[in-house]
Symmetry: C2
Subunit: 389 residues, 2 copies
């Protein structure tokens, strides 16, 4: 029997090279926006802040800029941004930049309308999981291709006092508008492009092998994202100025975001997040890549048809066995120059594996229920060991 499933992606998604200009043409959800950007300065340096301001100005929308977001965004800045939002009477929030800025914009949108602390509403970890009705409307303008946050409900925020990094999402945090303009991604360096592209790839691949949550529509999105990323991510890593390939990768990343909205990531994301929690300098994409051969090898006999289907979408050839997917993944990682990632580069040692596993279970527990087969703690630790080199 076909699965029961639902589909709800209410985002108005606008895509294309140069399409930032649509920002001044569409109906915006308010008259004063809070633009949320990172503290790094790149959004100003590349002229993206000015470009967005100009669009808003031409639409008769006023704005304020909140520019404190860190690469691993923290609760404190969410609360500061929400305060700024209320005080300056902003009626919607624009997340401009990578996942950290858009995720912070989502959390600010919640806290601008609700009393107390962000952790009062976080439904996992030490959060209180209080229900809430409203959040400000969110506009997402990504300048990276990887997180999919522009068209999914999810945000990752760290509680700086508790050292707790949680992922959460509500219907209210699905962006109302997303503008994906791949021209704004042309300046991304090759390594970051590869890391982010593989993040998108694993959103799709994990969502596809997810034994509990995958649906006919998430499968459709996932296989197309996998096909596009296999074909175009190496092209973009080799030549970041290739607008055609940047478009393909950006679209694939949003498709993978739609997988996150209609299915879910699995244990690999929990294992990777735990590592980055202890070693904040380890990029999320690098952590996933480092685990991936071992992680996917673990389940190759539990999801054979799905592995073969992914392999076929990648190689465009008939697959003979599940490990054809592992082979195609290895080729793709070699072509993107990320096949030699060593966890030891970031100072990780086998002595960390036990606490990584405990943290992964504590903060990402349900993700392991989604794996093609449930692994116990020893088996999870073993994935870290095998991935270590």
């Amino acid at each position: 029997m076909m699965t029961k499933f639902s589909l709800f992606i209410p985002t108005r998604f606008i895509f294309g090279a140069g399409e930032l200009r649509q920002l001044s043409k569409i109906k915006l959800p308010g008259k004063r926006a809070l633009i949320v950007i990172s503290s790094g300065g790149s959004m100003r340096k590349h002229g993206y802040v000015d470009a967005v301001k100009e669009q808003l100005w031409s639409a008769g929308v006023a704005c304020e800029v909140f520019d404190k977001v860190l690469p691993n965004p923290i609760r404190k800045h969410v609360m500061e941004g929400a305060k700024m939002c209320r005080e300056s009477q902003c009626d919607f929030v624009i997340g401009l930049g990578g996942g950290s800025s858009i995720d912070t914009a989502k959390a600010i949108a919640v806290m601008a309308c609700n009393e107390g602390d962000l952790w009062d509403y976080i439904p996992s970890g030490s959060g209180k999981g209080q229900p809430f009705d409203h959040a400000l409307p969110i506009v997402a303008i990504p300048t990276t291709a990887g997180t999919g946050t522009e068209i999914d409900p999810w945000a990752v925020i760290t509680h700086e006092d508790l050292q707790e990094k949680v992922s959460f999402g509500f219907e209210q945090t699905i962006p109302q508008i997303a503008i994906v303009d791949p021209v704004m991604m042309l300046s991304l360096p090759p390594k970051l492009t590869a890391y982010q592209g593989f993040d998108a790839f694993f959103h799709a691949a994990e969502g596809y092998i997810n034994r509990t949550c995958h649906t006919p529509i998430s499968d459709l999105y996932a296989l197309e994202a996998i096909r596009l990323l296999y074909k175009y991510l190496p092209v973009v890593v080799a030549d970041g100025s290739d607008v055609h390939a940047r478009c393909k990768v950006a679209w694939a990343s949003s498709l993978a975001g739609m997988v996150e909205t209609t299915s879910r990531t699995t244990g690999q994301h929990a294992l990777a997040n735990a590592m980055s929690g202890f070693y904040p300098k380890l990029p999320h994409g690098a952590a996933l890549i480092a685990l991936s051969q071992t992680y996917f090898k673990t389940f190759k006999n539990d999801s054979m048809k799905r592995y073969m289907k992914m392999a076929e979408k990648m190689t465009m050839q008939k697959a003979a066995r599940p490990s054809d997917f592992l082979d195609a993944l290895a080729i793709m990682q070699r072509e993107c120059n990320v096949d030699k990632i060593k966890l030891s580069e970031w100072g990780i040692t086998p002595a960390d594996f036990s606490r990584f596993t405990e943290c992964a279970i504590a903060t990402g527990g349900t993700k392991f229920d989604y794996d093609p087969r449930f692994l116990n703690k020893e088996e999870l630790i073993d994935i870290y060991y095998q991935a270590y080199r």
Copy 2:
């Protein structure tokens, strides 16, 4: 360069055998609903009205029933339904049944909130095209698999005085909620199942070959709908009680509706609508089927790659030439017992072809701009001639 495109499908789509029961579990957009059904009595006979009422009752939502909708729904009933809606202070509209009921529900949702006549707001034909802001929220519960209206903005209503049948759609007429429960489709007889299934097939195929409107996302939906319908429509026509195959066909129909939202149908739909305008007993699906071999043959050298891609999705084999699609279409029509449709069965004669063509151009003009190649009036008349047998 990759196309610029947008995607906006805000419908909360709930799918699955038995999933009507979700109606009482989800947040509904009001406290009093107008249920819109056909005058034929089948919705009551099959117990669907009671089933919906029971769900609403259990959700604490009151309801009224408007049961006058004709197979070709008319403006007058829209106005009556809207009056009933206002007088009984309904705050949302439920379209329950085939396309005619859901389309009428959409138009009622507009007229319940806006002064004057439906034709004041219709942007084509003799309509005045006045803008409007609001419509009541729409819930769509289809009991046929074909129109896709549950997840697209479109409605077809006839002005009974002007003999004008127009198709129109607004963002406000995209259903807020769609519940597709294939169990409610089990009683459809084989011929209707085939006609409706081919309507869905052509929403997908036309949206796919549309030279102007197709996008990466409409392509994805279209090819999956085409694949599913080729495989499962003959199964459902042979055995209407096959729930698994009904699910596949129902899902394909909604996917094809998503094609209608993200791309558009082409000239074939305009040609078919014109025939049904003059011969209201000619079912929409039968009209499309009767035209299809000729229509698609006309463009086989204008959209070669796309024809071959459709053929490959259908046959699961490498296509060698565009007409492989025509061959696959012929096989599918034979398997569904609709390969011998004669327009003369409905009293149509070649003497009609000129006025058919004029009507098609007058009411569906833009659709011919979407064809893979623009045809002049003589070429359009010729399609009718060739299709006649």
